[in-house]
Every structure is written in structure tokens, then in C-alpha cells.
């Protein structure tokens, strides 16, 4: 079952073709890793799917519904949420409020002005549940700006997850943390995402992490897809290995 499909998707920055006619398919329920060197177009692709950028041409279809020209808010409503490579949080607000706001927003409750946010029992319980899933319950009252880097990365994912997406786009959820923490973060993220039956697309550089957690790996290079397959297939692919090792492509 296909959840999302792009048709001949193109985006160009000056002379750089960041997405050079991509036909991308995301299947329901899979944990997909996008890999490739810097500048391969991975983040651009995620930005296009999440409406952070508008494509130059091409289509984005969510279960055959054309969402190419919908806004960020509409895409969130349709079930597409994302996290950010450089952590994007509400640093002045508590960890609790960061997640609670996503829940309020999803439920259309942010218009309420005359009710205390803390008095909404449903939102409070759900927020605590999400924080618990991401191992952040103990930090609920801490300002998001006061968290350690690993916790900030997790909270960034938790905020997106709290929107109840069908498709979760994670742009380098483990960048900037130690190797040890990487595994912890990926364990948490993959177990929550799989437990919640959420389809996930993860941009990741660490190939150990990629091979260990993914159902499917898609490799990009200079705005195009280079390889697409299960971890075993990718591991066996010599062309991919060359690029990952930094060797030049030979004709």
C-alpha cells in the first residue's frame, strides 16, 4: 500500500538541481531511511513533502490526493509532520508545553483564550503519555532551552509525533550527539514510531544506524535516486559502497 508518492518532482537552487525529477514512493507502515552525501537533496525532498518549500514542478500525492499546493497547516491536517535537523523548539516554554501545544493545535484548541491550558485534562494526559514514551516525563517542567542536546533531539521528534501524523519526516534525528546517545535516540524513536504504526522517513548519515533500524533504504546522489532496497540489498550494492566510502563514481 502506497501512502505517499511524488511524480517527477523538481526543485532547483540556482544551478543546483536538488531534486531532479524524483518519483518517490513511501509505503504504509515502513521505516524508510534516506541516505546520501551532503547536498544530495535529502533535506530538500523532505522540505518539499512537508511544504517547507514549493516544488518547481511535479506532483505530490497522498493516497492519490494531490497535495502539491497545500499549505503547511493543511499538510499537517492531512497527517504529515516533521522534525528538524537543527533542533527547532519553543525554548522559553517547558518541555510539557512544547508537546502540549502540538496536541492543542492538532485538536483545534489553540483558539481558546478563556480557559487555562493546564485545566484541559485530556491534553494533559496525552502530553504526559507522549513524554513518557520518549523518556522525557521527568523533565516535563524544565524549559526546553535547558535540555541536553540528546533530549532536545528527542523532544523535537516528540513534538512532531504528538500531532498524530500518518507520515513522520525526521531530518537527522541523531545529528550532533555522541555515538552512544545515537543508539538510545534511535531505539526510542523507532519503538515509538513502530508501536504507533506511523510511517517514518528518516534522514541519517550513520550507516550503522541506517542498516540496523530501516525496513528500506533509499540512496540519493546529486538530486537523483541511486539505489533503493532493503538493508541487505543496499549492503550488497557495490556502487553505493563506493559512494559511501567517498570513492569516485566510475563509468
Amino acid at each position: 500500500m502506497i501512502l505517499l508518492r511524488t511524480v517527477d518532482l523538481r526543485k532547483q537552487f540556482g544551478q543546483t538541481r536538488a531534486c531532479n525529477g524524483l518519483d518517490f514512493i513511501i509505503n504504509k507502515g515502513e521505516f524508510l531511511s534516506l541516505v546520501g552525501s551532503n547536498g544530495a537533496g535529502k533535506t530538500t525532498l523532505v522540505n518539499l513533502i512537508s511544504a517547507h518549500l514549493q516544488p518547481d514542478s511535479g506532483q505530490i500525492l497522498l493516497e492519490d490526493r494531490d497535495i502539491t499546493f497545500t499549505t503547511v497547516a493543511e499538510r499537517i491536517k492531512a497527517g504529515i509532520a516533521r522534525s528538524f535537523q537543527i533542533v527547532n523548539l519553543f525554548d522559553g516554554l517547558s518541555v510539557f508545553d512544547n508537546v502540549a501545544l502540538a496536541v492543542f493545535s492538532r485538536d483545534g484548541k489553540t483558539v481558546k483564550m478563556t480557559r487555562l491550558a493546564d485545566h484541559d485534562r485530556d491534553v494533559r494526559l496525552e502530553t504526559l503519555e507522549v513524554l513518557g514514551q520518549f523518556g522525557l516525563a521527568g523533565k516535563a517542567a524544565t524549559p526546553a532551552g535547558g535540555l541536553a542536546q540528546g533530549e532536545r533531539k528527542l523532544l523535537d521528534v516528540a513534538v512532531a509525533y504528538a500531532l498524530h501524523p500518518r507520515l513522520l519526516l525526521l531530518d537527522e534525528p541523531t545529528s550532533g550527539v555522541s555515538t552512544h546517545e545515537k543508539a538510545q535516540i534511535m531505539d526510542t524513536v523507532s519503538s515509538v514510531v513502530r508501536g504507533g504504526m506511523v510511517t517514518a522517513v528518516v534522514i541519517e548519515h550513520d550507516m550503522d544506524v541506517v542498516f540496523r533500524y530501516s525496513d528500506r533504504i533509499v540512496m540519493m546522489h546529486e538530486g537523483s535516486f541511486l539505489a533503493d532496497g532493503t538493508p541487505e540489498e543496499i549492503r550488497a550494492n557495490q556502487e553505493v559502497a563506493n559512494i559511501l566510502l567517498g570513492a569516485p563514481l566510475t563509468a
Binding site: 527547532n88 519553543f90 484548541k109 483564550m113 480557559r115 487555562l116 493546564d118 484541559d120 513534538v159
Partner: protein, 336 residues
């Protein structure tokens, strides 16, 4: 877990009531202890606090610095003056009922234009609009009285129950009006407290902290900023409505940009990162300015020095500095 979650908000509410009750009690008892002039000053202080409270919803909670809040204060004041000149009942309730929709509509209108931009561009737009209002008030003198302004006599309070003519009218008015303004001040503070702790208020703070992420949890940024502007302008407008019967006169001075500057000063003085900052700032600024004016003809210089010192030494304002000092004390006592 359930018990903990149920207690969380109630405790914060209780703390608020416990903290506010003694202050309210002092404010209620104060007029019988001090002279009429001091009471009058205190009313000005409460009014400045309401204005700054409104202003700070934009600066402190939404992250937008308005340099044109004199417009909403002035429009509130002028709407009362017009009502005195042209319309029926000479009653404060009538002025509030008439003035609040007027300031709300103008805030909505001007806000709609201003929130299309942020940062310095937003500030310049608010400033420009307020200066347009100012020059309109100056040039349409047959309506506005030009630089002479418009007179506003003491209105009746509480649906005509209290009126203030005769020999002791002034003292009686000041005392009654103090409690009148205090009542509206309390309503305003509670209302604002609820707003900033509501989901809406939290969304504003989210937008302030990180606009990109706010968009990616589905918030419609511009609409939130617009409504924040509307509420903010209306609060400041109510302050203007309350101010004019006390002052007895409104002139274009309250529309001029320097008055917007005073509102900014007020928020900085108290501390714009705290809920109570603008309240403290409003009262302190009123006394500061009054005594500066009384003691030297270079009072603006004096205020300038205070402002520079403030920005350099107490960037978080009076309330910010106090709460930091308290935290430090608590930490020290925890260590020993």
C-alpha cells in the same frame, strides 16, 4: 501520576491567589491612609499598569515591539471626549461600553496591517500609523479641538448612583474613582492572566520563541499575531478611557509617539519577561515621572539616565531582578 497531574494547575492557581491577595488588600486599604493627591497618583499608576499589561501581551508574549500604542490609548480617550460632546448619558459605564468596541475595531484594523511584518518593520508600521492618528487629531481641530484638546468633566459612576458635584465633589470623586479603576484593573489582570495561560496564550509564546516550528505544529501565525494585537490594543485603549475623566482633558499629546515610548519604557522598567513586570512598571513609572517633573526641569534627562541604567544593569527590569535575587537566595539557603 493522575494525582500529580490533577494537582499541578490547582497549585499554581493557589499560589497566584496567595500572592495577589495581600497586595490587593493593601491596595484596598491604602486610600484611607494617604492623602487625595497620593490616591490620584495611584490611579494614574493603575491606569498605566493596564496600558502596559496590554502592550506587553505583544512584546513579552508575542515578541512584537509596538512603537504606536499611544494610538489606542488616545483613541480610547478621544472616544470618551466625543461621547461627552455629542452623546447622551454622562456615565462612565456608557463610556466604557461605547469606547471598548471603538478601540477594539481600530486595533483590529491597524493590527491587520501591522502584523504583515515583524521586528523593526512591524515597529515602524505601528509608529507610522500612530503618527497618522496624531496628525489627524491635530489638523481636524473643529472635531478634536486641535492642540487645545477636548474637556471631559467628572462622569457619574455605577449607572448614576455616584455623582460628583458640590464643594467636596473632587475628593469624593478621587476616592470613588480609585475603587472603580481598581475594580477594572483587577478584572483586567485576571483576564490577562487567563489569556497568557490559555492554549491561545501558549501558542503566542510558541510563535515568539520559534516561528518556523510554530508553523510546523499547524499554527496560523499571522492570525494569532493579529488577535494578540487586537487584545493588546483594546487593553491599552481601556486605559485611555479610564484616564481621560481623571485628567479632565485629552490633547493630542497622548497620541504622540513619545507617549508610545513611555509605554515601552514602562514595560522595560518592570520587566517584560514577567507577567507582573508591566504592572509594577506602570506604577513605578508614574511616581518616577511625577517626582522627576516636580524636582527638576530636566526631568527628561533624569528619565533618560534611568532608562540607560536600566538597560545596562537590570535588563530584566525590576521584577526580573527581584525574582533572580530570590532564586539566588533560595539556592544559597539550599546549599547551607
Amino acid at each position: 501520576m493522575t494525582r500529580e497531574t490533577r494537582q499541578l494547575p490547582n497549585r499554581s492557581l493557589l499560589k497566584l491567589v496567595a500572592g495577589a491577595a495581600p497586595i490587593l488588600l493593601v491596595l484596598i486599604l491604602l486610600p484611607s491612609l494617604i492623602g487625595t493627591y497620593q490616591v490620584q497618583l495611584l490611579i494614574y499608576g493603575l491606569i498605566a499598569a493596564i496600558a502596559a499589561l496590554g502592550f506587553n501581551l505583544l512584546l513579552g508574549y508575542t515578541g512584537l515591539l509596538s512603537f504606536g500604542h499611544s494610538a489606542y490609548f488616545g483613541i480610547g480617550a478621544y472616544s470618551v471626549a466625543f461621547a461627552v460632546a455629542h452623546l447622551g448619558p454622562h456615565s462612565m459605564e456608557f463610556y466604557l461600553l461605547l469606547g471598548i468596541p471603538i478601540v477594539a475595531v481600530t486595533s483590529a484594523l491597524f493590527g491587520y496591517i501591522c502584523v504583515r511584518h515583524t521586528r523593526i518593520f512591524f515597529g515602524i508600521l505601528t509608529l507610522a500609523i500612530s503618527q497618522v492618528v496624531y496628525s489627524l487629531a491635530l489638523s481636524f481641530y473643529w472635531v478634536t479641538g486641535g492642540s487645545d484638546g477636548l474637556r471631559v468633566p467628572r462622569p457619574a459612576l455605577l449607572l448614576g448612583l455616584l455623582s460628583f458635584s458640590g464643594s467636596h465633589g473632587f475628593q469624593f470623586f478621587i476616592k470613588s474613582y480609585y475603587y472603580y479603576v481598581l475594580g477594572i484593573f483587577v478584572i483586567g489582570v485576571v483576564l490577562m492572566w487567563v489569556i497568557v495561560h490559555s492554549p491561545f496564550g501558549k501558542a503566542l509564546q510558541a510563535i515568539r520563541d520559534n516561528e518556523v516550528r510554530a508553523r510546523f505544529i499547524g499554527l496560523r501565525i499571522r492570525r494569532f499575531r493579529w488577535i494578540s494585537f487586537l487584545v493588546s490594543g483594546t487593553f491599552t485603549g481601556v486605559a485611555g478611557i479610564l484616564w481621560v475623566p481623571l485628567n479632565g482633558l485629552t490633547t493630542p499629546d497622548v497620541l504622540y509617539w513619545t507617549f508610545s515610548g513611555e509605554i515601552v519604557f514602562t514595560a522595560l522598567l518592570g520587566g517584560f519577561r514577567n507577567f507582573t513586570g508591566p504592572i509594577v512598571g506602570g506604577i513605578v513609572f508614574t511616581y518616577l515621572k511625577t517626582y522627576a517633573v516636580a524636582s527638576t526641569e530636566y526631568w527628561q534627562l533624569l528619565l533618560g539616565v534611568v532608562l540607560v541604567t536600566l538597560v545596562l544593569v537590570l535588563p530584566t527590569g525590576i521584577v526580573g531582578a527581584i525574582s533572580r535575587a530570590r532564586q539566588r537566595l533560595a539556592r544559597r539557603s539550599a546549599v547551607t
